[in-house]
């Protein structure tokens, strides 16, 4: 059980900076998920925490103590690798016992710890097998078991589910969150899959190009994305982005012109932009719905349909712009591809973002 603090952590490889001054505080018992597209530095950040890589500048603190110069083994962390990194020539039992043997723990104690972990992970029957004789999910559990027996202060998971098939991934997901509830340990979990992040995390850290874009609870990020990147990354199908232009501002609200000419008045948090400023309107597919009796704000040229029975997805181009949009409709739909339809929206869930690259929310 431990807290973790990162202070202005940077990392350079051969002069190329891959982590740019990350600050992060993880509370005791938190399940924190690092999420971001590949190459965003999330695995590197995990390795910096773990001690497998040294930070270039900044501090890593565990339980308030600076551990920059403490070796990976002595930081009291355990890591579950993407490839599991099980020792192929050792049995499941040996795999789990290896770390304990290395610190000279008495044999009987090792045995009881390994058996306990095996029971917890339902590996009892497999202890004498080798990793090659196990299925993907079982290997995953052995890797987790190897972490558990060491009773680490913090568990680190590096994309542990990416090698499993979809079905197994779902069940392992609940297994890991169940484990977190039982052990009440601090866990840091790296994934590129926003569904895993949404379903497992107490707190999500969204990373892009070595920078933290936003930290918050899953629904926080979903409902109040800090910028266009987070808005687009969290949620599936992705949020729709439509270019708009400011028509007029009045105090804390702004009226924007939508493609197709209609105006829409939305509240803004701080500093309403001047008239004529281009902005981006963000609206999630489930907050769009087919227009009835003239409340249409946008017009969609339907290109493709996905009827999933319980709900339907309508894809198309937004009339009057080159933006594309997806609409999530409950139940089944009679809309045809090639037709045009009016779209209304739940304006309480509409977001406005700056049109620049940073795309900060207004």
């Amino acid at each position: 059980m431990a807290t973790l603090n990162l202070r202005q952590v940077t990392k350079e490889f051969d002069g190329t900076r891959v982590i740019h001054g990350v600050d992060l505080a993880v509370a005791d018992g938190d399940f924190v998920v690092f999420v971001g597209p590949s190459g965003c530095g999330k695995s590197t950040l995990l390795r910096l925490i773990c001690g497998l890589e040294g930070v270039t500048t900044g501090d890593v603190e565990i339980d308030g103590a600076r551990v920059n110069d403490v070796s990976a083994a002595d930081r009291g962390l355990a890591m579950v690798f993407q490839s599991y990194a099980l020792y192929p020539h050792m049995t499941v039992y040996k795999n789990m016992a290896f770390g304990l043997e290395n610190i000279g723990m008495p044999r009987a104690e090792i045995e009881s710890k390994v058996r306990n972990a095996a029971r917890l992970l339902r590996l009892d029957a497999l202890l004498e097998r080798r990793p090659t004789q196990l299925s993907g999910g079982q290997r995953q559990r052995v890797a987790i078991g190897r972490a558990i027996v060491r009773e680490p202060r913090i568990f680190l998971f590096d994309e542990p589910l990416s090698n499993l098939d979809a079905e197994l991934r779902v069940s392992m997901r609940t297994e890991i969150t169940g484990l977190h509830e039982r052990l009440k340990a601090t866990m840091i979990y790296v994934t590129h899959d926003q569904v895993e992040a949404m379903t497992m995390a107490d707190k999500i850290v969204v990373l892009r190009s070595g920078r933290i874009e936003q930290v918050g609870s899953p629904l926080d990020l979903y409902n109040r994305p800090a910028n266009r990147f987070v808005a687009g990354f969290i949620g599936s199908p992705q949020m729709n982005f439509v270019p708009v232009r400011v028509e007029s501002t009045s105090g804390s609200s702004v009226t924007v012109a939508l493609p197709g000419g209609r105006g829409l008045s939305l509240p803004v948090g701080h500093g309403a932009p001047a008239a004529g400023t281009p902005l981006v309107l963000g609206i999630r597919p489930e907050h769009l719905y087919p227009a009835t009796d003239g409340n249409a704000l946008l017009s969609l040229n339907v290109e493709q349909l996905e009827q999933l029975g319980g709900h339907s997805l309508i894809y198309g181009a937004v009339e009057g712009s080159d933006a594309r949009a997806t609409m999530h409709v409950a139940g089944q739909t009679s809309v045809r591809a090639g037709s045009a339809m009016g779209m209304a929206m739940d304006t309480a869930h509409a977001h406005l973002f700056a049109a620049d690259d940073a795309g900060a929310a207004l």
Partner: protein, 347 residues
Amino acid sequence: MTAFLTRTRGRGRLDWTDWFTYLYLALGLFLMFGPVAWLVLSSFKTESAIAEFPPRLLPMGQKQVVVPGEDKPKPVFRVKLPDGSVKELAELRRIGLTSTMVDPAKPDDLVRVPIDARTPVREFKLATENYTDLAAKFDFGQYLWNSVFITIVATIITLLFNSMAAFALSKYRFGGRKVVFLLILSTLMVPPTIVLVPNFLVVSELGLLNSLWGVIWPAVATPTGVFLLRQYMLTLPDELLEAARLDHASEWRIYWRIVLPLTAPALAVLAIFSVMWRWNDFLWPLVVLTKSEKFTLQLALNAFQGDLVTQWNYLLAMTVITLLPVTVVFAFLQKFITQGIASAGVK
């Protein structure tokens, strides 16, 4: 097996390519296997049979029978008797140009014939005494022990040293590791004869002349072995080592408990190579070992060829014995050898 050996290209009949292929294969078999077969067969010939002209392929000895009343078995000849009949008789003794013969069935009936009227009767006979005499006549056991000692000890040290070097070169990032690796590899291009004299001087200064260790030490660091093991270790995922490091394993323990067991296939290949190299090594032991009690089998073989007399029957028998271990190693482990050649691109 038969189906494999008699496989043809033409269906049911022989295509011209089949003729060509089988001819080619037969020729190859003869060229490669012929000398070995000749060696093995000749090693069972008596000294006189080896010197015989025209030479025969099979080891033949003169037929001998026990004649009642005589202590030793007597040689059998086919004799043309004065009356024109031909009989097989045993020769009791020979004086000058006359030979006294007897029919083993009628031991009292002596026949005297001129020696040019008789020809020896030959039969297939293995002169196993070539082998059994070896141990008694020469210090064969000592040579064998020297060879075995050098081969086994040098192989163990080779595996240990080369794997440690390969581990460092494949798994540690340090300045100049490419330079070190290239330096090691570049020694492959220096012919052994060039470093023979410097090596000799070093070994001599260390007082290792006429010591088996003088043969072992210069041979244990092989660039081929380092290269082969390094290439194999590169395929081991770094995550395994990192996992072990997190598991509080020291670097030595990572090497001993994780890397070495996982490199077993490559180690097997190197072990086979090393056994063959050390066992067949001739030039270096020849330079270092001058006392006959330190000779390896290869040196003993060489010493067998005297300036005046060479006992070919013993020499050939010893050659066969010397060839056996390597042949056995090759036969049973050829799968690993081909795998090793394929994985490292070395011979």
